[in-house]
Point group: C2
Chain length 399, copies 2
């Protein structure tokens, strides 16, 4: 294992690795895992990676799990980076690539953070973890906790996607609904941490989830032959995925596997009905403010205030990226357009795709640019319960 | 491209590749693609494969698409082969591995056959394809046809999973329901072929779908380090997946990449409510008889008579495998057991898993055997529409 310590993302204070940790003891902000990257570079080369299994664990030296410790895994990672020229033309960008995280176990990118988070909880001897969720993180953590034999308490909005509720129940998590938003669920979890000794695993409130998400960035770089695209577009709720991708690129630059100082422009996409990071970015503010009355069809984007917001805003600023809000109507329009071109995405992924024409309209994006959009979850996680109107044929029908 | 010709699976008559083909012109039975495997062996080595992208197209030399022709792809294949010791213990087999085809695009193994089938339809200049489906093949073909710009007519039972109907509609396929089974849908398609010139792409009624399914077998062998497990268990509706895996192993043996003559025992799993192949196997019959009154929760297994049944039966016999039928009650029980151990499978995959205790009980399977079960589709394709009964907390609740 090449982990040296945990470092506060805000004040840089160092904390020891190897024991349970949540936030910085000085400033209460997120901790990030730091590695001895020189040692990693002596141990691992891009060529050495090539023959490894097609999961995110191929990057073991850049992950926090002790060498030899078996990861809690469903084979997550190495999702395809798909060229979609037809959809690209429809959206106004020929160089469109989609990283399809809907093909992760449990149908969303949340599997990556759950795999590292649950494995590290096991490594550190934690018995009962708890989290608020907008939906998909709950499903993913429930799966990996079931796999690991860890107890999980999960609290989600009562109007979260029904599929996520069934997932949590099927996997055996202690599942509660709340008459409110993920932020309200978070407050109940915080009280449970104080009263019951649960270990909190909310977004960026422990340092290992983001390490799993980081592998999205590692994979994009590897799949492009160790270079970065011009722009990466990320549907942003808690923002952990975008933070992870940014961290991946920094580490690969430090390793010398990517050109130093050459970053993709990172774009955070939110829904118009819940766009705290977009608002903060527009105002040039270093942190976001709580978004009152959050509401959108994209359940995963309904995060009124993210604890890691300042890191997302910093990532956007330092990579000359941007932030953009998409209306629910446009999300649904683009979801239909994507399906007609062969890709059935969830509304979060549709928001990411919808950022392409939005940014083209602003003149921010060129038609020929190489753009990677993250589809963070499968369209199958939002099933329409009612049978569509379709012609019903008799068995002897003539077509 | 290393394709030499198409060969009838029954009478061995040779047919030319490179033009549209359905069944053998002599005996009306399925055609299989044959390759110049000596030439493939000179061109490709296991080591040469290692660095290729993690999709089924890494095996390009063993696929029918002309060299240089861009495949119609969503990045399908190289699904994980997951060790599940906890679930294995629960089912009575320590050496359980699950090949999770739920992580294919469109959530089932059908994506593989659609990728090769649609690509070859495009190569051969076919404009309008048609198929009956139990559900998932329709969803997959609708996606790949949308991606390729091909017209698709799909006909499915009116009680097929609602998700599959929505998929077909969203992707833009001409979608019809039938007051009957997949066999009735098949008859309507056959009439459409005669009347309207559709090109039929039903299971094993064109030679290229099975080539995509074959990659499951190629991957299992590669993922195990170029060897085969003791037993492979396959949920069997039309049987194309099992046929493909058998073909893969034969080709890898011919290439010298797998030990000659050493086959995994192939097990076909069906539902008690539709088990024509199990019945034929028990009777020692070379072909199955139409199963009257087919009904099971596992929509994908509701195929009362498979056109490739005789190949499945031959594969079972020649590998010293077997066939087993699982009750719907046991499918649902094992589905719940699998979820409690971290894996959310569809009922078809659950039938596959349920074969493990069934074969242990018979003394057919040893506790220590290395067994690969194919989970042919994601549990997300069978969403429960109703919100589960869960405690609803007030925002100020004390946990």
């Amino acid at each position: 294992m090449f982990v040296t310590h945990l470092e506060c993302s805000a004040c840089s204070r160092s904390h020891p690795a190897g024991k349970p940790a949540n936030l910085c003891q000085s400033c209460g902000l997120p901790l990030l895992v730091r590695y001895d990257l020189e040692a990693v570079g002596r141990h691992l080369t891009p060529e050495g990676l090539a023959g490894r299994p097609a999961t995110m664990w191929r990057y073991a030296e850049l992950l926090p799990v002790p060498a030899g410790y078996p990861p809690v895994t469903l084979g997550e990672g190495m999702t395809p980076l798909v060229e979609l020229p037809g959809l690209g033309r429809a959206l106004g960008c020929r160089g469109l690539l989609v990283k399809d995280e809907g093909l992760c176990p449990t149908g969303s990118f949340k599997a990556r953070g759950a795999a590292t988070g649950v494995t590290m909880a096991k490594v550190l001897g934690i018995g009962h973890v708890a989290m608020p969720t907008a939906g998909n993180a709950g499903g993913a953590w429930a799966a990996y906790c079931a796999l690991a034999g860890l107890e999980l308490t999960v609290i989600m909005p009562e109007d979260a996607p029904v599929v996520n509720m069934h997932e949590c129940v099927a996997y055996g998590a202690h599942t509660y609904l709340v008459k409110g938003l993920i932020s309200d669920a978070g407050k109940i979890v915080a009280r449970g941490v104080a009263r019951r000794g649960w270990f909190e695993v909310s977004t960026v409130k422990e340092p290992y989830r983001v390490e799993g998400k980081k592998t999205m960035g590692l994979e994009i770089a590897e799949q492009l032959g160790w270079r970065v695209p011009s722009t990466i577009i990320y549907p942003t709720g808690g923002g952990e995925g975008l933070i992870g991708i940014w961290k991946a690129i920094q580490e690969l630059q430090a390793l010398g596997w990517l050109e130093k100082g050459r970053f993709p422009r990172l774009v955070a996409v939110q829904a118009e009905g819940c766009a705290p990071i977009v608002r903060a970015h527009r105002q040039g503010a270093p942190v976001s403010q709580f978004w009152t009355g959050a509401g959108t069809v994209a359940a995963g984007l309904r995060v009124p205030k993210a604890h890691g917001d300042f890191i997302v805003l910093q990532a956007i600023a330092e990579t000359e990226g941007t932030a953009v809000a998409i209306s629910d109507g446009e999300i649904e329009r683009v979801q239909a357009v994507a399906a007609k071109h062969g890709l059935y995405v969830g509304p979060e992924g549709a928001a990411g795709l919808a950022a392409v024409p939005a940014l083209r309209d602003r003149g921010w994006l060129d038609a020929g640019e190489e753009v990677v959009v993250l589809n963070t979850g499968s369209g199958l996680k939002y099933p329409a319960p009612v049978r569509p109107e379709l012609p019903v044929l008799e068995v002897d029908a003539e077509p």
